[in-house]
Symmetry: D2
Subunit: 334 residues, 4 copies
């Protein structure tokens, strides 16, 4: 028996963890160049937030012997929705059970995606309240815009590499209610799904799944932070160029999602996207998935003239595969 | 007995009608300067759409002896939601019954707001499919960007004047599930609500209600169209200046909603907002209403140095009150 | 006997001095919010530069008991031109003689404008060479873009108030070769010149002279710093709003010069313009002065909807006249 | 005997001619997509101007059996300067003699560059005066901004390919007073000059000379048109993508000149650059040439992540060499 996918159960991506073999370098990138503020530090982890992020932190940087994704946290739309989704994940055999949470994060339900990415669902979170010296007269802004670096406003979305896009996608649709807004197929190659862009809200995508052409499992393609202003991607590229951060591609705009992208590698080796607009916002409640074929791929990848380097974009992820270490090297020039 | 407000029942603002005493002038503004495309014409009405609007039309311009709002159409998130909301509106005594719809619009349920604005709910709509010559290689784009004028991407939101903000707001919350994201109160004046910014989705607001300081009922403050790119508001101001369209205020950014505004008057006399960013997007499922006081009003109105003219911004709406005719006069210089 | 005005004798505005009664506050504004870098400090003065300024410094901040302009320095196009212009100034009775210069500045010829503004001409200057840690891989950039604040690229122009615009203008044309690109006259009021926008190069203006409606002499209207990117003026307005810097007007674009303006008051009380584009660049060697009448003033002042406050814009300058102290008050919120 | 190079003799690039084998297609591109206005038509030529170009026309499109540059026209700073430069060109053996001019262009002195590019000098030109319906309330604007397409403000610069960069560069310096602001050398390859960016005014470059790696002579690399607003390059890329115009590279910003570039091919096959900022403006009267080595080439070519395609950027020019016809194909999708 097939049931209709659940709707309106997940609210948004609330927090993400990145592992880094160069915590000091990664911190320099996120705090000095991107101007994120530290809100806590515990053991090997530093907690950071953008100035409009709603909660205690959006990014948790954890020292490790390799780069890669830690746990990605999704907030549900209610306490009940959390229980329902936990049950659905258990029924699907993906649940790893309840946790006691983290700094600023209450009880969570942990699970793995079919491809092996660690995630969790949460309802109880600590809303960020700025101390007096960081308050903004713009009252919808949880803290005032930093004078340091070129600060993104909030964490935006995550893009995962997967060995089987379809399996990952279908499970997330069925258990969590993600809608697939756009996908790429290889029609000439039998219709294999190369990528899927999924969302639980009006963003064009909050999670993407792209085929890992190396066949690896559970890797991160990128984590994205939102400027919402196209010019800021140009500014960010300039700062990365001047301060030793390797630029992979952009600024340009993808045809897929109409997202204004700039891809760079933080010093720990994780790919970071800076997102210069809001992409296409999707309001139709019965939106049908838009399917791109590899034959349309040129426009799908970039509306302007950008090329996404084949030596990295489709094969490099974190954790880094053996042999890929030399592809990426950001050395901050402080 | 008080019940919890409904959630996830309305999807978005799907279409809006404007009455105009100068149909030719209004058409010039929307098609020549803003580059919207005509999709139908029937009796005294012309149907228009922005190039990324999802449906047959977003704007219906209707010749009339005065400016003002016609019917505003909201799409529900499902066919069932439409039935439920119709029942709730009937129970609240606001329903005006089912209609057979319009060009591109199926059966609707008509109602009036407490302040007398005509609205309708709809589920069945005609999705726009571009003819071959208007198709875009950017597949999420329903039609390609026009080469005419400075085209906004989609209709964004509506702002209504009301004689009683609180009554209008509470009814829309209770019957339709609007959330009030921000409001302005006059604390020194007893706490009267001066304005409320409401949404059924992730937009910072899709409907605003502002106090009509003239005491009139059922008037339109403005209808907004979305560029999503701040520079385009500067471009639009320049074109309005050059082509005889009266600019009221902007480009600047409101503190409220963080929306990048440009207010102009179309030749029929209706105030139109061009919206240069996406404003603050709201993802928290338990977001608490942000309350501005009149004491914060300076930042609330504009983050930059713009002033909103007291002789028009707080008192001029459409239909135009007697004595206000001379405040506004856009004469296209073609 | 009238001789043709000299051409090609002055190159550009090389340095400017501002007096400030709040050196600490002014320094915070220029270094923390605008990200200018200090290059020297001597007695009561601090020397600052933007990251693309060509010389040792562009701005010299000097502690004083009042705000106002210090000496403005113009660089000539050659050593010989300096001698010729010094002779012309002497002949006009304006010369104050040779000086031994300043830090980074060689021998100068000092003079006063007819309205009493202190200026100097210079040929020998110290070109800025960045230390290794501040070098940019963008080789035309004299030092890399700071990560602090929102840094303008270079000092752009100066705007002076004068009790007699015409006298000031004609002298500068005749002795120094300034061309008047645009001017405003009051045709209904007998043709009095209200303002003149003058240049020695391709910039639309490098010096402006505006009528001081208070009748005072020798005051500064504003000193301008160049972003060259319109979005940065919007960003600067936001930061000023958040950090306690008073915004007078903008961001918007003047009709005159097509300059993208944002006017703010630095904590010392001097008006500073942030300049978000390059304005109209003028290449015609026989360009005729464009004359605006007060009747065109609306477009002359702003292409968008900005209003320039009558209580400050046309009457407030530095040094501050008695009674104007309360008009302006920037208190950095650090 | 070596004499000092002349200074201040040339004012700017006044007009340029492009040959096109597809006049109709080229016209569509320049008038429908770029919104340039036609000012005259004569025999096989159509005369066009941008809305802020100062003269009768900036671009002359001439039907021919192949793409390529026609005559490039430079305006001198005075009538006398024209005579002096004509004499210098004659002395250098490059002069081709006086012509009677063209529509809107008076008597000119024709010459060839050492590499064989046809040029002319002119003093007498027809200043453009807009008819009443095209006048702008912005008085420095020679005609109002069109509502058609995405109009650049003026023609900006030209980039020529040459078989010998150094010979071309030195002659232009010595006879016409061009200053070389930046150059690229191949230090490892014996110091050969790969490119030179030259100017007679404050623009970072008004003429560039780049090595034609095919060894051809007298070809055009690109002609550039100026937006002055970075966002407009993003907009232009989007329109080119949607309307069948081939994008070669960009939007991005060159390290050299700091120019915001977008390279596309007009339907006739000529490469056109759209220029989204003013690049670095140069005011130092004794500016020393900045030398980039091929080792810095990555930043020299692009500050962001753009790649300039080796299969076209360094080898494709017009007239098109045999075998290059298939590299470029813009087919307007009207």
């Amino acid at each position: 028996m097939t049931t209709a996918p659940p709707r309106f159960e997940l609210a948004h991506l609330a927090h993400a963890e990145l592992l880094t073999p160069d915590l000091e370098g990664s911190l320099w990138f996120f705090t000095e160049l991107l101007g994120m503020r530290e809100t806590a530090r515990h053991q090997d982890s530093v907690y950071l937030r953008c100035y409009e992020d709603p909660y205690h932190h959006s990014l948790k940087l954890t020292a490790a012997d390799h780069a890669g994704p830690g746990t990605l946290g999704w907030r549900t739309t209610s306490a009940d929705a959390l229980e329902r989704r936990a049950a659905a994940l258990d029924a699907a055999g993906l649940g790893r059970g309840w946790t006691t949470g983290d700094i600023g994060v209450g009880r969570t339900f942990a699970f793995d995606t079919p491809d092996g990415h660690a995630m969790e669902l949460v309802w109880d979170v600590e809303k960020y309240v700025a101390p007096p010296e960081l308050r903004s007269p713009i009252l919808t802004r949880r803290s005032r815009r930093p004078l340091q670096g070129l600060p993104p406003r909030r964490m935006d979305h995550v893009n995962l590499m997967a060995s089987d896009v379809t399996a990952q996608k279908e499970l997330l649709e069925q258990t969590l209610g993600f809608e697939t807004r756009e996908r790429v197929i290889d029609a000439a190659g039998g219709g294999t799904e190369i990528g899927a862009w999924m969302s639980v809200n009006n963003l064009g995508h909050e999670m993407a799944v792209m085929l890992d052409q190396t066949g690896s499992r559970g890797r991160l393609h990128h984590l994205a932070f939102w400027y919402g202003v196209p010019q800021h991607n140009t500014d960010a590229a300039e700062l990365c160029r001047e301060y030793g951060i390797q630029i992979e591609a952009g600024p340009d705009v993808h045809g897929i999602t109409q997202g204004a992208f700039l891809y760079v590698f933080e010093p720990g080796g994780n790919r970071i996207e800076l997102f210069g607009n809001s992409g296409i916002l999707q309001f139709e409640p019965d939106h049908e998935t838009v399917t791109w074929d590899l034959g349309d791929f040129d426009t799908a990848l970039a509306i302007g003239g950008a090329t996404l380097p084949v030596e990295t974009y489709f094969v490099y992820g974190t954790p880094v595969n053996a042999g890929q270490e030399k592809l990426v090297r950001s050395v901050p020039s402080r």
